[in-house]
Amino acid sequence: DAGITQSPRYKITETGRQVTLMCHQTWSHSYMFWYRQDLGHGLRLIYYSAAADITDKGEVPDGYVVSRSKTENFPLTLESATRSQTSVYFCASRQGSYNEQFFGPGTRLTVL
């Protein structure tokens, strides 16, 4: 199906483990984004990418790694998960600089 998908939708992991959240979009949008959503903080930008092989830090990048080898995929890796990274993670994409962002359904991550 066309659109933006995230996997897994739910994930429970333990402190110290590596976790990768996947994001895939079928529109060939140039821009892709990762946000985390926490109560009282709204949406905060973790990383974004303007094109394949171009990534940049957002507001809260510490503890996260991203890559973008293909336009349609933008995985987010927690190299050593911590409890403070328990959150709902949203991926988004956008075509061009003056358009709205389209959001995926989110991944609920729990770090025990």
Partner: protein, 112 residues
């Protein structure tokens, strides 16, 4: 840097009543403004956007918003709320660069 304030964390209205959700932004030039809605367990869906032109913007689901430069506001309105409108609403501002800045959201409860 731009910022967004949604003064109301939680609003309760009766079904059929009118609704206004407040959004104030801080940005030196003409901003790009968005309202998104998030139903429980879902991603964010765009309700409407303002880039330029007519300051009264019509969106989906019967929502509208008015851009008031003098008040740095972009309030969301609906004349008659339906139970299905219960959700969380986010205002966002962009400057044409890669990033959007989101407010912390307003949760809407609709009483029957």
């Amino acid at each position: 840097a731009q910022s967004v304030t949604q003064p109301d964390i939680h609003i309760t209205v009766s079904e059929g009543a009118s609704l206004e959700l407040r959004c104030n932004y801080s940005y030196g030039a003409t901003p790009y403004l968005f309202w998104y809605v998030q139903s429980p367990g879902q991603g964010l869906q765009l309700l409407l956007k303002y880039f330029s032109g007519d300051t009264l913007v019509q969106g989906i689901k019967g929502f509208e918003a008015e851009f008031k430069r003098s008040q740095s506001s972009f309030n969301l309105r609906k004349p008659s709320v339906h139970w299905s409108d219960a959700a969380e609403y986010f205002c966002a501002v962009g400057d044409g660069s890669e990033k959007l800045v989101f407010g912390k959201g307003t949760k809407l409860t609709v009483n029957p």
